[in-house]
Symmetry: C2
């Protein structure tokens, strides 16, 4: 009789999702009861006639569930005697009672060293919707949505005829190679361009090809936290090299790690200070790399947004074809969700990079690649960059004027030609972390400069985004910043 079973046994059946067929729900209720030990090996299952009456379901439902239990090996049938819980299942310790969160392990579960390290890495900046003056926020409203949508619709149609390729879609690779040759003086063929998920994946892959766990990678201090994260993700150690107005100081890094063989940097603009690597330092880095069989990973961050001068020729184009891995992204220029970037690989790395991407990711989705290729080939990308360069230049002036007017006595601008944010120094002894907290409470995305440092020597300041905000928003933001600083001064 069904009544010999605890009624709780059928709770999972009665409560489970109605999306499931009744027989599946009944099957799973028995399955769980058997695995939990609520039904022990050898126990007799209720007769199907009795059970269907008790649960108010059809006999066929019960029979199908029993057949499934039989097919999967949970029950055995004894001729004429009914169905019994199988006696040969190794069930003794598989305990899955729902309220027991952790398994009863004799040994605690272990994570990789990398996983343990990563959890310790400074958390990525969280974007909160509606925050003002957040750095790295492009002007999404100015994005040419109708042209983009046409490119996307076309991509949906073309996708049918496309083969998947780990290196990326050939049309997009060709567009990127042309763009980089013309605009950044990069020396490359289409074959050297690999499509990645943003520059983040490009930097990670590049490091994976060059560095083993425990090795040293020299990087700018302060620097981009995506670089710190990529270094941590390969299990390498970041050697923080100080940055001055000419950019990264290689000697500072080499003093700490004379055997380092990889430098990772953003020569067009140090992040977040905005200093550009000088020609002298560029030549010096290339020399060092060529002499020592070393590598430079050049993330050409923000080269698009120089307002007064042309950006300097890339390290790669300055004679670095064999020692530079050049990376870039479209996510900052177009839309944070686009997640497409690229790297330009020296010949020597083409084969290992293809293998690595094959096994670490399998290839980037074709759809956004086709859309972007179309968007670039029809000229929308180039004209969008031009328009944004102009717009961001204007917005920077608006921010600078507003701060001069309201906070000129306390904040002092670090000069830089371009970008999507500006950095201001604060009076000595002021604590930028505290100011950041006060800003956050007022809906501001302003960041504390000191958080971008790895080494002991830190400068305090404020990193203030302007690219994504209208004149009114910038002024509101500066008002709130002034209020936060007033409060800070009175604390």
């Amino acid at each position: 009789m069904a009544s010999q079973f605890p009624s709780s046994l059928f709770l999972p059946f009665q409560e489970s999702s109605s999306e499931l067929a009744q027989y599946t729900r009944l099957f799973r209720a028995f399955q769980q009861a058997i695995i939990n030990g609520d039904l022990t090996p050898g126990a007799k299952l209720p007769a199907s006639r009795a059970l269907c009456a008790e649960l108010g379901i059809s006999r066929n439902t019960v029979k199908t569930a029993y057949e499934m239990l039989h097919a999967e090996g949970y029950v055995e049938t004894r001729h004429g005697a009914g169905s019994f819980v199988a006696t040969n299942l190794p069930l003794d310790t598989v305990d899955q009672s729902e309220d027991q969160a952790q398994p009863q392990a004799q040994v605690p579960p272990k994570l990789s060293a990398m996983a343990q390290t990563l959890v310790g890495v400074r958390k990525p900046n969280q974007m909160k919707t509606g925050e003002l003056l957040l750095p790295a926020q492009p002007c999404v409203n100015s994005f040419p949505w109708s042209q983009w949508q046409r490119a996307v619709a076309s991509a949906g149609r073309q996708m049918k005829y496309q083969q998947n390729s780990v290196m990326g879609n050939s049309q997009l690779r060709e567009q990127i190679a042309n763009y980089l040759r013309v605009v950044r003086g990069v020396k490359c063929t289409t074959d050297q361009v690999m499509i990645c998920s943003g520059s983040q994946q490009a930097m990670f892959l590049a490091l994976k090809l060059l560095v083993d766990a425990g090795e040293a990678v020299i990087a700018e201090d302060p620097g981009y936290q995506g670089i710190d994260g990529a270094i941590a993700a390969v299990g390498a150690t970041k050697i923080p090299a100080q940055v001055d107005k000419q950019g990264i100081q290689l000697e500072d890094g080499l003093q700490q790690a004379p055997n380092a063989r990889v430098v990772m940097l953003t020569p067009s603009r140090n992040h977040p200070l905005g200093h550009t690597l000088s020609l002298d330092r560029r030549l010096q880095l290339l020399q060092w790399a060529k002499r020592n069989g070393s590598w430079l990973i050049e993330d050409d961050y923000d080269s698009e947004f120089r307002f007064e001068q042309q950006p300097l020729t890339s390290l790669q184009g300055l004679g670095g074809q064999d020692v530079v891995i050049y990376t870039g992204t479209f996510s900052r220029i177009l839309h944070p969700g686009i997640r497409l970037g690229y790297m330009v690989l020296p010949e020597l790395l083409l084969e290992p990079a293809t293998r690595a991407k094959t096994y670490m990711e399998g290839g980037t989705s074709i759809l956004p690649q086709l859309a972007l290729a179309e968007f670039m080939s029809s000229g929308h990308f180039a004209s969008h960059v031009r328009r944004m360069r102009k717009l961001y230049h204007q917005r920077r002036e608006i921010l600078h004027s507003a701060i001069d007017a309201r906070l000129g006595a306390q904040l002092s601008l670090i000069p830089s030609d371009g970008g999507m944010h500006s950095v201001y120094l604060i009076p000595e002894q002021w604590d930028d972390r505290r100011i950041r907290q006060l800003c956050e409470a007022r809906g501001l995305g302003i960041r504390d400069l000191s958080r971008y440092y790895t080494g002991q020597k830190r400068t305090c300041g404020l990193v203030i985004g302007f690219a994504g905000y209208s004149e009114a928003e910038i002024n509101t933001g500066v008002d709130r910043l002034a209020a936060a600083i007033d409060l800070y001064s009175s604390e």
Copy 2:
């Protein structure tokens, strides 16, 4: 005078891409000459008037190029005397003559151990266009393109309002969680679902979280080469565990590596044999994992394509919520270019996985995620899977009949309920690699079974795809296979 300079100096100017402004081309010609040493420090640049006459360009072009050279630090102006190559540039060894492929390094450039290992991993199967009977080729022609295109167009419109999220788009994650709960008995909330680039990235990330370089990972032998590649990509060692009709033999793996703490497997169907992991073995694996603080990475490969029975409940759903990382992909079911997959993470791994994806990739492109979410929520995905299950079942029968009729005496089928390919054993002493070569020469994508093995014990056979081919194509393919085998027998 300009004539004092070798005319070759201006070749890069005259030959370079006309996409570039003339002044940029001229600037780059001088830049290259200075870096190459063709123009030495202190050398006087030609007067702009003379140069514009010689090259037949406007004086403004020359002046702009000279200003750029000055701004970037390549030349210095002496008042009234003209422009000179800067004397303070550290130029001695930056040699970038185009015909010198490798830099003159005192130390040869070094790759990571991982990069060196990966190049040694068995090459991924290359798809050649038009090959018949290739395994893992879905029926792209049956894909509902018009519904897909509508979903894509809608994604292009929605994208504007989407925030980027490393875990993936919440609509898609919810669709996947619902699907897995209902169809695969997976026990998860939407929060546990992470969107990845195919199952390949999911498997790599899972391994990165659990295994350090040098550690052992038990995996099926024969097995999926994407799994072997992921294991190599994290620098771990694959311990090949033999497979029988009940699936992976855990003891075989543990005998070779008693301390292994991770098993990676495809329980629904061993690749390529097609054996399903039995209930006994499932329970045994779960028990082992729970007792030892070990992990199971369950790639639920081909669970969608069981033709006669329902697939067995996933390991994750069988009480493995805390010890199983469950992975899957849409690339096999829908289109190879879609490159979207997922993993279901135990609570303990949520934070490390988020960090790892942030720094290794930065997040998957939103566009295909939005399209797929729409495609699933409007029911097209579920009905496509149902249609393909029916179609592939029919196509399998066509293949089996054709082989029975033509090659029944030589080939013997390994029974398996489902999938997109079938495996046939060949007579002992036959060499499947040689047969594969003969097949390849006839435009067949048939694979040799022995290539899927890592250990010493290998079975020879043929892996024959049917899913992507019409009845006529299958029959043509089997004709060609018969011809190849005829030739092999006569060799």
